[in-house]
Symmetry: none
Subunit: 401 residues, 2 copies
């Protein structure tokens, strides 16, 4: 059982340092013809040695049988119950393209689409227009203005973009304009609450002007918006846990997730090597470091066991550099499993390792799903990762006399 409120109440500032490495999608399933997971198949002498002097277990991201997206699974590792703090689709998309959101911004995911002369949708993705065409259209739409609100646009791939409405008194409580079916008209952005009526009015004005601006741009002659959302109200890790946290992540979405919980975002490159260099360079400045390794997840999503094995081996080669920094606590885990066999995220609990002078060591020189299943931490919620980190860094006071 995890009690985050109690952890917050008992947390205290100390000089000890925590490094939490999130190897995205690290967990897997035995791969057909190989019979081992990527982590088991990988040659990881450093992680194996570390496991022997660490405590191990399996971390369950959200709940039994639940496959999480990156948002909820990261929130859990950062010490926020993902069932209480949901991140809207629009916000996650904005984070994914590197937009920085303010507290009263409302973000949404956009699609270019095709409508016929009567305004009925004939293609919800405008024939998946080339990304360059998308960029040209977004550039043109940046001159469409609505009084009372700033509109920020960022193109994505093909027909996708992100829109952020910035201004006073905005609310993300709006229904999608995307009816999800061809043969229907785009819907108005309808307010779900009285407070959102003002925002709905502004958004609908903007859409009307956009429609006019796009009228000769067939097939991308209209837009659909969905997943309107403002930033979730989350206390920072500094407020909640008395930490001075920093994030080292090569990909925008993970920097965005870290910013959501108040981490300082350190400039870094996209290689693991760059990230470790960044960790070294800033190790004196913070007491909590989130380090994100992305390509285990992308290779898992691609069903590419070999590549996933290579990424794990590459990370393994940097483990000694992390240990050289002498962190008081080092956690190596993932946000969720991404078995190459499934080519996607899955519900399987995630290998977890915590190293500190205060652990009960596992004694087994092998970091993998099978060993972690027999680990002395058992199967526990990912939400317990931060409490374990704080405890092993001696950052939690005693409960009761």
């Amino acid at each position: 059982m995890v009690n985050i409120q109690l952890v917050r109440n008992l947390s205290q500032k100390t000089d000890t340092k925590i490094v939490m490495v999130v190897v995205d999608g690290i967990g897997g399933l035995p791969y057909p013809g190989i019979g081992r997971t990527a982590l088991e198949e990988a040659n990881t002498p450093n992680l194996d040695n570390l496991a022997a002097i660490s405590s191990c277990g399996l971390a369950e991201p959200v709940a039994l049988g639940i496959t999480p997206g990156s948002g909820p699974s990261h929130l859990a590792l950062f010490g926020y119950d993902p069932l209480k703090h949901e991140i809207g689709r629009g916000v996650l998309e904005a984070l994914g393209v590197g937009l920085k959101l303010g507290p009263s911004d409302v973000a949404a995911r956009g699609n270019f689409c095709t409508v016929d002369d009567s305004g009925v949708i004939t293609d919800r993705r405008a024939g998946r227009i080339p990304t360059e065409e998308n960029q040209r259209l977004i550039e043109a739409l940046r001159s469409v203005t609505v009084e009372g609100v700033e509109v920020i646009l960022e193109p994505g791939k093909f027909h996708r973009f992100v829109v952020v409405f910035r201004g006073d008194g905005l609310s993300g409580e709006l229904d999608d304009t995307d009816p999800q079916h061809v043969g229907e008209r785009p819907k108005d952005a309808a307010a779900r609450t009285p407070e959102a009526a003002y925002t709905a009015g502004l958004v609908n004005q903007w859409i009307a002007k956009v429609k006019k601006a796009l009228r000769n741009e067939y097939p991308a002659n209209m837009v659909l918006l969905r997943g309107f959302a403002g930033l979730p109200k989350i206390p920072s890790m500094s407020q909640a846990f008395k930490l001075t946290p920093a994030a080292i992540a090569g990909y925008p979405m993970y920097r965005g997730l870290a910013r959501l919980v108040g981490m300082e975002i350190l400039e870094t490159g996209s290689d693991i090597k760059d990230e470790i260099e960044t960790l070294k360079a800033h190790f004196g400045e913070h007491d909590f470091f989130y380090v994100h390794v992305k390509d285990t997840d992308s290779s898992g999503e691609d069903g590419d066991l070999r590549r996933k094995v290579e990424v794990i081996q590459e990370f393994d080669s940097h483990v000694p550099s992390i240990l050289d920094l002498e962190p008081d606590v080092l956690i190596v885990t993932g946000d969720h499993s991404t078995p190459a066999k499934m080519k996607g995220h899955s519900w399987h609990p995630v290998p977890f390792l915590i190293y500190s002078q205060w652990v009960r060591p596992q004694g087994v020189r092998e970091f993998g799903e099978s060993m972690c299943a027999k680990g002395n931490l058992g199967v526990f919620p990912s939400l317990g990762a931060l409490p374990l980190a704080l405890a092993h860094a001696l950052k939690l006071g005693k409960f009761g006399a």
Copy 2:
């Protein structure tokens, strides 16, 4: 952790098929002089082979240290929190004798008892009259009528029977008439809520007429009723989990429990062989099958380890026939433990096995309490069985982006 509301929200209809075999009371304790549980003592080559390619663990029916009845322990396996959905004693008894209850029926457990001339109870069980005598008396009482309500009676063994009151506007919120002690008078059926006053009036009228009808039937010259209850309000498995479930159970109570959650009840015999034949015959028609094996529990209750071993071995011999059907998910577990050493249900968590192409296989060729205690699923709530089944059948969508 199990979050059933989330599982409901994420569940989706697919063509995959789940078979959940509930080997009633399968869990046990090492038997004196043998040192092994019935499951460990049994020769189960098929279950052992299956365990090696399955994920295993121990399922805890209700909570640590809690010994459950069949009602709550089955509800948990079907995906319903047994602490939120209580099944009244009367309802369970009615299901046990095969009565089909309607939504406004009120059922109660009855005892024939003995009262003296002043109406004071001298024997709460009427000297445990023979079952044949019970049947004769019940037949006679079927002619006792009360205006506004239909009364359905079904004899049980010795002094026991079940009564169902059927009519409009009835409520099960009534106190027992059984004072639980000799030397007291039977109590009136007292209404616990204002809405139940009408029902109390009808029930007390019926009892008064029954007392008169039984006045010359010493020792069975009065009745005591307890456990008044109507059907619990439970969404069907179809509503809750988008399943089309079917139950294959030889004993009435288990068919009744399955009917409570909206399963279709398939006609079958009382042998395991009959049940497997029924599964084969209907395998195309449903996507979830609950198969109940009863005699592991009854032999455990009798303290008959040998018989329990035989029943387990008999079930084991049918495992290949189940696998021949190629279910996407096969679960083998029990609703609770019934150690022969204890001659009754117990609180010990229950051996659990889930087989699917998406499991992390256990790799150990042995299905039993000790191996499951080291299983990669750990100890988890029985309420997680259905979420695990749905996840491994790919019937759950992703949570969050």
